[in-house]
């Protein structure tokens, strides 16, 4: 299965992945119109310190603790992708408690934020990958 992999050697800390992620969820055509004046809530986030930077988003674990821990059944694993049913989520944050990567984020929107590999958007390749100018984020099939 194709996954998002992050290679910090090439991460520039430009944060474009976050903006493209936020843009993806708007389903707007134009990023300026989509994000103008908004504080973005991306599903991928860059950690940076002392010249090191890298983006973190859901790893779509084979044994997802967030799914196993989810008290509502809002988180499910469908064809290897950990999906969130926003309708079901009640923001209890049990998944935040469980995720070892810190890749599920609390949010004010009534449901937690997490990467779904953009499969609910128009983009076939996750937008963070498309938006990364340096292939620090790639979407690849690798041996597991």
């Amino acid at each position: 299965m194709k996954r998002v992999y992050v290679n910090e050697n090439w991460c520039l800390g430009c944060h474009l992945c976050e903006y493209y992620c936020a843009f993806a969820s708007t389903n707007e055509k134009d990023m300026a119109r989509a994000l103008k004046g908004i504080k973005i809530s991306p599903r991928i986030r860059v950690e940076e310190m002392d010249g090191i930077s890298f983006a973190v988003s859901c790893r779509h674990c084979n044994e997802p603790l967030c799914v196993k821990g989810c008290i509502t059944g809002a988180l499910t694993r469908v064809d290897g992708i950990i999906m969130i049913d926003k309708d079901k989520c009640i923001s209890c944050y049990t998944c935040v408690l469980c995720c070892p990567y810190g890749a599920v984020s609390p949010s004010e929107d009534g449901a937690v934020l997490k990467c779904e590999l953009c499969i609910k958007t128009y983009s076939r390749t996750p937008m963070c990958v498309k938006g990364c100018p340096n292939e620090a984020i790639v979407f690849e099939e690798r041996g597991e």
Partner: protein, 415 residues
């Protein structure tokens, strides 16, 4: 192979999903004493709050049983086990034979013996959907609700009914709220927050006597109420195993394969007692993620795999009136502490390991701490100072990060 599962909640689902990974053919019979499609019990407070509904509360979708080829028997209460015949005998006299049996009976609210309680007409508990519906029916505008117990159930109940224009009072024996999961300072923050949300708290108090619609407290206070909710705690439902001669303590005693002392009988979820690896003590850890994972572990072993679940720790994620609390592990050892009044963080560590933590307010990335406890990660392999301040992968070694995020291993040579 015939699997029988008594109980129809998270542990049962965990077991079914695990069994069906390994055994597509065997019969699975699920028996529930309730009359519902599997639903998430912790959601009952959200139901009252209006954040969910009965449909959305379903823990798995409507096709769950069909897809997993489960025979579901509702409204059926198991009475006893015949472990020689490998049968479950039900209260209605029916019997169900099993090859592998899972006890996932959960827990029941504990009602303390208080004088005059029998005179209270409007007394409710708050653990099942029926409980919630009954409570909801009992409430009307301006109802005075007295909740006995300021623990997780009591306070979630308080939150659940808070939007209904009712007056809520909450009484607890302990001097603090959420005493089972919070330290004193953390508790104090929540206490103030509850009070800000108009919950009347009576702490370090107990009820001497009920007089119809009045609770008489030890300090002489009288609290009038229309509706009483008993939420002092729950007791694991252990009798099936205990009566059959299996080992029990507070809960059913299981090993790391979720096996009871009775052959082919497994137990999972709130009814059992298992090892808390953060403290090294056996405990009842009544929380949904553990229930699921124990059920999963039981299911794996029942269907013939050798599977160990030895990562259980106490943990909680709870939101009360918009304030989030995440805790895990054991509160012992050295302490890292940080607060800005709104947010609160306490980490407990000793012997190069993180033992536990309490986060209030900003709970982002709490799972990174949870993983440190669960994996017993040696703290000297990471930038501990940094991770205390900011949970993140930055505190790990580049190599560890490479493994977590991928992408580096293949290029290690060239850079």
């Amino acid at each position: 192979m015939k699997y029988v599962i008594i109980g129809n909640s998270a542990a049962a689902v965990g077991a079914v999903e695990a069994i069906r990974k390994n055994d597509k053919e065997g019969r699975i019979v699920i028996v529930s004493n309730e009359n519902y499609h599997v639903y998430s019990r912790p959601l009952i407070s959200y139901l009252l709050l209006g954040k969910t509904n009965e449909e959305k509360m379903k823990y798995r979708n409507d096709d769950f049983y069909r897809e997993n080829r489960c025979e579901l028997k509702l409204n059926k209460t198991a009475q006893r086990l015949d472990i020689k015949q490998k049968q479950v005998i039900f209260e209605d006299g029916d019997a169900e034979s099993y090859d592998k049996l899972l006890i996932a009976t959960g827990s029941s609210p504990f009602i303390p013996p208080v004088q005059g309680l029998d005179k209270v007409k409007s007394m409710y508990t708050f653990t099942t959907l029926d409980d919630a519906k009954a409570l909801d029916n009992a409430l009307s505008e301006n109802s005075k609700v007295l909740i006995v117990g300021a623990g997780l159930i009591g306070l979630k109940c308080a939150e659940g009914i808070s939007k209904k224009k009712v007056e809520i009072s909450c009484i607890d024996l302990s001097y603090k709220v959420l005493s089972s999961i919070l330290d004193d300072e953390g508790s104090e923050i929540i206490k103030r927050h509850l009070q800000d949300n108009k919950i009347r708290l009576y702490l370090k108090r107990h009820i001497i006597e009920f007089k119809e619609n009045i609770a008489m407290l030890d300090d002489g206070t009288e609290i009038p109420f229309d509706v009483l909710v008993m939420a002092v705690g729950v007791r694991p439902n252990i009798s099936l195993v205990k009566d059959a001669g299996g080992r029990t303590n507070r809960g059913i005693i299981i090993d790391e394969r979720c096996q009871t002392s009775i052959p082919d009988v497994y137990a999972a979820g709130d009814c059992c007692e298992s090892m808390d690896i953060s403290s090294g003590e056996a405990k009842v850890m009544a929380l949904l993620p553990n229930a699921y994972m124990q059920g999963e572990c039981a299911g794996m072993n029942m269907s013939g795999l050798d599977f160990v679940f030895d990562k259980a720790i106490p943990m909680n994620a709870i939101g009360l009136f918009g304030k989030h609390i995440i805790t895990a592990g054991t509160y012992s050892g050295d302490v890292y502490f940080e607060t800005d009044g709104k947010n609160y963080k306490k980490l407990f560590y000793s012997d190069n390991k993180l033992n536990g933590f309490i986060l209030i307010g900003d709970v982002a990335k709490a799972g990174i701490y949870t993983a440190l406890i669960r994996e017993k990660t040696p703290l000297d392999t990471l930038n501990f100072e940094l991770i205390c301040k900011t949970p993140g992968l930055m505190a790990f070694s580049k190599r560890a990060r490479g493994e977590m995020l991928g992408g580096i291993k293949s290029e290690a040579v060239s850079s």
